[in-house]
Every structure is written in C-alpha cells, then in structure tokens.
C-alpha cells in the first residue's frame, strides 16, 4: 500500500539548523514514483524547511537525500529542476506579463539548430507548450496571452506544464489552492490527479485538510521540526486530520508506518 520497492525520493535523517535554531531533525521518508503525498503540520512544524530542502533552495545540515536511487545535493532550485524536481510556488514562479509559452519555457528554452547560435525555436515551443497544457485538459487557444490574463487555476496549469517541460519526476506544490475560489480549487485538484495519472510524484503542502484528503494517498505529519508519523489518507477524515496536526498524535488505525 504505502511504498513500492524503488522510491523516487528517499530521505534519511535529514535535518536543518539555522545557527543555533533547529528547524528540522531526523526526517526519514520514502516516496514512490507516481504517488501523491501531503506534508502537513502547524506553523513552525518544519514543512517549509523540508520543502526548501527538497526544492534545492536550502541545503540540509545533516542526513542524505537519494533521488531516483542516487544521492543528490542540490545547490539551487535550478539545480533541482534540472535533476527533475520542480516546485510550484504560490505566486513567485510565473512572470505575469510574459506569455503562456514564454512562462513554460523560461530558463529552459528550445533552440534552433545549430544550438550554439542561441536562437529561439518559437514555433516548436508554442507547439509543445500546447501539448503539455493538453495533458491537463487545458485547451488554450492563444498561447501568446499574458499569464496575468489567466485565472488562478489556469496559472497553476501553466506552472505544472513548465514542470512537465523539465520532465520533472517529482512536483512539489506549495499551497497551490491558498488564494483560489471553490471552482478554481477543484480545477487544481484535477491537475494534481492528472499528474498522478502520468506517474508524476506530487508532494502537496497545504493548510486545507479537505484538499489534502481529496487527492493524496498518504499524509506525512510534522510537528516541531520532527516527523511524528504517516497517515493513510483513506483512513482519515479532514476533521481527525486537523486534530492530528494539533496534537501530533497519529490515530493508530490510520497509521501508515
């Protein structure tokens, strides 16, 4: 049920301290390819720290991370992206005035041959961008529209299309529904399911228990910088999950470990 033989991500004893402050310690974690897991916990539980480590923004002070079976140490988010771990942030990662196609290929442009000339292959980028968006069922007629014209859910689709462009095997989504209305939230949850159907691993960080219960298979609970346990999503309700986050006590009948 929980983890298959070859996890795409394996964390052993990962910890982080900033000066004398311990933000995270001793986190062991395995996530399978195509799995959708949630990271939950109260403020200060260590979610953001763990996300920053996985996305390459911060480096762990201790412990090891193996990605696709190989130990990795990312120096920057760009490093992690290149390796195949993409992160979508609440609002930082898109350039609002640039077009949909430009946003998808920012930093990873396709070039005309010979490549050393550095000339953009706009036609191919447009064509392939459409293909990535199609995979989310987002039929966009004009790829030259600025991203700021799109709804919040559609912007998430663009951010995820960018992850697909990088052939990401793991996508970390940090509060993807925080600023969205009901309909838009439903759209993002569908996007997450679509990623799962394409065997892309999703790590969802969310304060919304309904969302977490709706799309994930497994929930990692953090408290005061430690992992207190894992929950099989099918065995909890949003309200028991909220209780678990507050107390840090995993209901025995729902525990995954």
């Amino acid at each position: 049920m929980a983890v298959v033989d070859e996890p795409v991500l394996r964390l052993s004893g990962v910890g982080k301290h900033y000066g004398g402050v311990r933000a995270l310690s001793g986190v062991d974690l395995e996530i399978a390819q195509g799995e959708c897991v949630a990271l939950v916990g109260d403020n200060g539980a260590g979610k953001s720290t763990l996300v920053r480590i996985l996305s390459g923004a911060h480096q762990p002070s201790e412990g090891t991370i193996a990605f696709a079976g190989r130990p990795v140490r990312f120096r920057s988010p760009a490093d992690a992206l290149e390796a195949g771990i993409a992160t979508t942030y609440q609002d930082l990662a898109l350039a609002p005035h640039l077009t949909i196609a430009q946003n998808i290929y920012m930093g990873g442009e396709l070039l005309l041959r010979p490549h050393f000339l550095g000339l953009l292959d706009k036609a191919r980028m447009r064509r392939e961008a459409r293909g990535y968006l199609d995979r989310f069922g987002f039929a966009v007629n004009d790829l030259d529209r600025p991203v700021s014209d799109l709804s919040g859910g559609q912007q998430q689709a663009v951010a995820l299309a960018r992850a697909l462009r990088w052939q990401a095997r793991v996508v970390i989504m940090d509060e993807p529904t925080a600023a969205l209305g009901v309909g838009e939230t439903r759209m993002v949850l569908d996007l997450i399911r679509a990623l799962g159907a394409q065997k892309v691993t999703v790590i969802l960080v969310s304060h919304d228990m309904d969302d977490v219960v709706a799309v994930t298979q497994r929930i990692i609970v953090l408290k005061r910088g430690r992992k207190v346990g894992e929950v099989v999503t099918a065995r909890v309700s949003p309200s028991t999950l909220a209780h678990t986050i507050m107390t840090g006590e995993i209901p025995p009948e729902a525990s995954a470990a």
């Binding site: 920057s76 988010p77 760009a78 992206l81 290149e82 992160t87 942030y89 930082l92 990662a93 898109l94 350039a95 609002p96 005035h97 640039l98 430009q102 920012m106 930093g107 990873g108 442009e109 070039l111 550095g118 000339l119 953009l120 960018r162």
Partner: protein, 313 residues
C-alpha cells in the same frame, strides 16, 4: 478595444503631433527638415535604446550621457592627435563598454542599487572627461575617413540615421529572437521567477548595463564624427531627452515595458516636438518643460518595470 487604445494611443498622439506641425509650422514637412529631425534624434535614439536594454533587465542607467561624453573626448583626442580612426572608434566603443561593465559590476558585485551606482559612475565619467581635456573642447579638421561616420550620406539618408536603424534592428532581434535576449526580458519582468527557473539574473543585469554603455560609446563616436569636435559635457543634455523617449515609448506597443519600437517612436516624437516648437518660434527652454511633462505623464500611466528598477535595493 481598450487594449488597442493602451497599445497604440500614444503612437496615435505622435501622429497627431506630426499632423499639427505639418499644418502649422512652415517648412516642417520639407524633406531636408524631416531628414534633419531623423538625424537629430539618431544619437538620442541610440542612447535611449541602450537605456531600454538596461531597463529591460530592471536596472536604471543614469550614467550613459556622461559615459558618452567621456567616450567622445577620448575618441576625439585620438583623432585630433593623428591616430588611426580605427583606434579612435575602438577607444570610444571600448570606453562606453567599460563604463557599462563598471556599472554592472557595482550593481551585481557590490549590490549598490543601480539608481545610485550609475549616478556615481556618471560623476566619475564626468570628472575623467574634464581631466582628460582640461575642460576645453577638441576641435579640428579631421580626416573624412573618420567624420564620414557622422557626416556621410548613403542613398540620400545621413549616416547617423542608418546607424540608428542598425542599432534598433539589432536590439529588436536580440530581444525577440535570441535566448539571451529573452532571458534579459525574463530577468526584468520577474527576477525571482527567472532565478528559480535557472536564469543567471546577475549576469543578465550586468549584460543590460554593459549594452547600455556600449550604446553610449557608439552614440559618442557618431556624435563626435558629425560635429568634428568633442567636449567633456557634450552629451549631458541628452540624458533627460533619451530617458523621456524611453518613458514615452513604454506607453505604447507593449505598455509598461521598455520596447524598441516604442523607444524609436518616442525619440521621434520628442524630436518632432523640439523641431516644431523651434519652427513655431518658441524659446528653446520650452522644450525642457515639455520633456518634464512627458516624463511625468508617461511614468504615471505605465511604467511598472521602471518603478521596480528605481526602488529595487
């Protein structure tokens, strides 16, 4: 409908300015006057394109006019002392580029905001220009192989206008067709997002400022050749004019973003205003008042990158 007004509103206003002067100012429509305007704005347009490129990376370059003056006196002194025109041109371009690189280094390595860094470099360039010349102009009968850069005419069109067209096309092609140009745009539009996507934003900011310096060097060479003279403050008047052209340009075609066609139309509009006002008999200082108003009106309506660049610390 509204996006159309936003994109082409000021360009239409420029046409209205043109029509107004065509109807009211005697001699405005004469071919030599129109070519004269184009020649007059060519240096300013090249400086303005440089400023646009730095601003595209969300950095302000307030030093280009003083860097141009410094490059002009270096170039002029070399020609004056009978050095090869090739060396003089190389010195002008090289000093411009060096000034731009200095700006870029101060901004990216020392983390001084470009608003301050380029003001400081402007002061340094100004001081050096006066130091080099002892405060006097260099004037002389220079070889035509040099002066042709600014005074030559090809197909009936003065050389500076050709240079302006060449720089504009090169800048446009760079921004629209090359990966580096696109990344320059990304850096200015969303610095953080670009960095997260692996764009080396510091290199891009350095590049934008370096290109602005290079344009200043080129404008200086052309100006020196057209005037057959160089003075340590010869380009200082062009600072505000070029910035006004860019600001005005940012209200058209791609509102809120520095763009090359807008910058050209902006420079042309300002050139027409200056020319037309003179033909109508207005005192020259009226131009300054008009420039100031243009800058305020343009920035108030659309200048998102500019405000970000000015207040980025």
């Amino acid at each position: 409908m509204r996006p159309l007004v936003a994109r082409f509103g000021t360009a239409l206003a420029a046409c209205a300015v043109f029509a107004f002067f065509a109807l009211t100012a005697d001699g405005f429509l004469a071919p030599y006057n129109l070519l004269g305007i184009a020649k007059q704005i060519s240096h300013i347009a090249i400086l303005a394109i440089g400023f646009s490129l730095a601003l595209t990376a969300a950095e302000l370059d307030l030093s280009f006019a003083n860097i141009a003056s410094l490059a002009a006196v270096a170039c002029g002194m070399l020609v004056h002392t009978h050095h090869s025109p090739v060396l003089a041109v190389a010195a002008g371009l090289g000093l411009g580029l060096a000034g731009g690189l200095l700006n870029g280094a101060v901004v990216t390595l020392l983390k001084v905001p470009s608003l301050i860094a380029t003001l400081a470099v402007a002061a340094i360039a100004n001081g050096l220009a006066f130091l080099l010349t002892g405060g006097v102009s260099v004037v002389g009968r220079w070889p035509t192989s040099f002066t042709a850069i600014g005074r030559g005419v090809w197909l009936g069109v003065p050389m500076p206008v050709w240079w302006m067209a060449l720089v504009a096309l090169a800048a446009l092609w760079f921004l629209k067709q090359t990966r580096t140009g696109f990344r320059l745009v990304c850096t200015g539009e969303a610095t953080q997002a670009a960095a997260l996507a692996g764009v080396k934003v510091k290199h891009m900011k350095l590049l934008g400022l370096a290109l602005s310096g290079l344009c200043a060097g080129l404008a200086a060479v052309i100006l020196t050749a057209s005037l057959s003279s160089a003075a340590p403050n010869m380009a200082s008047d062009m600072l505000l004019t070029a910035i006004a052209a860019v600001m005005l340009g940012m209200t058209m075609f791609e509102p809120g973003t520095p763009n090359i066609p807008g910058t050209l139309v902006g420079a042309l509009t300002i050139g027409m205003l200056a020319n037309g006002l003179v033909l109508l008999g207005a005192p020259y200082y009226v131009q300054d008042i008009v420039l100031g108003l243009i800058i305020i009106a343009s920035v108030a309506t659309s200048a998102s990158v500019l405000t970000r660049a000015a207040f980025a610390v």
